[in-house]
Amino acid sequence: MNACVAGFLSRWSAVVLAAATLAAVAATSGVDATRSRITATFRQMNVPVEGGFKIFRGTIDFDPGNLKAARARIEIDTASFDLGAPEYEEELHGKEWFDTPTYPKASFVSSGVSSVGGNRFVAKGKFTLKGKTREIKVPFTVRSESGARVFEGELPVSRKAYAIGGAEWDDTLDDEVIVKFRITTAH
C-alpha cells in the first residue's frame, strides 16, 4: 500500500467519522435539567407529600415521524431527592428507603415508543431503582415550547416493587407513588 492510498483512506474515514458524529448530535437531544422536573408524590393517610429529584440527566431521541428510532435514557441521582424537609433527608438516604450509598442511581432506558393518538405516546422500557429492574410503560405527551421539546407525563410506581420503605410503613403509606415528570430537551 502506498502513501497516497493510505492518505486517501484516512481522509475518507475522518469524513465518515465526522458525519456519523454530526448525525448523532443532530438526533440526540440532551435533557435540559434546569427546565425539567421529576417528582414523586407519596400518600400517607390520604395526605399527599411531594418531593423532587434535583439531579438527573439523560438523552432523548424523538421524531414523531420515525417512532422506531425513538430512544430515551434518563439517569437520576437518588440522593438528590428533596422532600423540603431536611430532617428526613438522612432517613430517606438510608437502607430502608433509597439506600443511596449502595444505589446512587435510578434509570429509565426505553425499548420502544408507540403513539396512542394526537400528541400522546407510550414509552416502554426498563426502570431500575434500588437495584431492581422492572419493565414499565410511561405515558407522555410531547409539545414544542420556544424551540425546545417538552415531554410530560405521570405514572404510578409501586413502592414495594422496588423495596422503598419497610413493611412497617404499609399501613400508613400507600404502595402507589405517583411519579410526575416534565422533561425539556435542549435543541
Binding site: 393517610m45 395526605v47 399527599p48 407529600v49 422532600l83 423540603g84 412497617e168
Partner: protein, 183 residues
C-alpha cells in the same frame, strides 16, 4: 332567663371539650415533634392536625355562642383589677385558640404536608410550599403554644384561687356540680 350565675350547658360543654383538645393536642405536639421519622410519627401529626381543625371549628362555634349568650357576671366583690385581668386573659385565650390552629394549618401548607381532616376531607392550602415560611411558622406555632400553656396555667390557678381562697363560686360557673356564685 335561666340561672344566669352559670354558663349555659352548651358553653360548659364547649369549654371542657376544647380544654381536653388543648391538653391532648399540646402534649401530642410536644411529643411528636422530636420523634425520628416513623409511621407512628406521621400518624401523630395527622391526629394533631385533626385536633387542631376540630378546636378551630369548636372555637368559632363557641365565640358565636358567647356573642348570643353572654357569660354570667363575675362576683361584685372582685376588685376591678381582677375583673379586668380576667377579661384580658379570656380574650387572649380565645385569640390563641383561634390563631394557633390557624398557624398550624398555614405551617402544614408551607411544609408541603397538607391537612386532610380525618384522612377524608382535604383542607385547602392557603399558602404555597415554601421552606423558609414553613420554618418561620413552626417557630410561631410553637411559641404561641407555649404562650397558651402559660395562660392556661394562669387561668387554672385563678379558678382554683377563687374556689379555695375567695370561696366565691366563680369555678361553679363552669363546673355544674360545684356551687354557683352568690351575688
Amino acid at each position: 332567663m335561666r340561672d344566669a350565675t352559670r354558663y349555659t350547658p352548651v358553653a360548659i360543654s364547649l369549654h371542657w371539650l376544647i380544654a381536653l383538645l388543648i391538653f391532648a393536642g399540646w402534649g401530642l405536639g410536644l411529643y411528636m415533634a422530636d420523634l425520628p421519622l416513623s409511621p407512628a410519627k406521621l400518624r401523630y401529626y395527622s391526629w394533631h392536625k385533626w385536633m387542631g381543625v376540630t378546636t378551630f371549628i369548636l372555637v368559632i362555634l363557641r365565640v358565636g355562642w358567647l356573642a348570643t349568650h353572654p357569660a354570667p357576671s363575675l362576683p361584685r366583690a372582685m376588685p376591678p383589677w381582677q375583673t379586668r385581668t380576667a377579661r384580658v386573659t379570656h380574650f387572649v385565650l380565645y385569640l390563641l385558640m383561634f390563631v394557633i390552629p390557624l398557624s398550624g394549618w398555614l405551617m402544614s401548607s408551607a411544609k408541603g404536608v397538607p391537612t386532610v381532616y380525618f384522612g377524608v376531607l382535604p383542607i385547602p392550602d392557603l399558602i404555597a410550599k415554601d421552606k423558609a415560611i414553613g420554618d418561620l411558622l413552626a417557630v410561631v406555632h410553637r411559641s404561641l403554644a407555649y404562650g397558651l400553656a402559660a395562660l392556661v396555667g394562669l387561668h387554672v390557678a385563678a379558678a382554683i384561687k377563687h374556689q379555695l381562697m375567695d370561696r366565691d363560686g366563680v369555678m361553679g360557673r363552669m363546673i355544674p356540680f360545684l356551687a354557683p356564685p352568690r351575688n
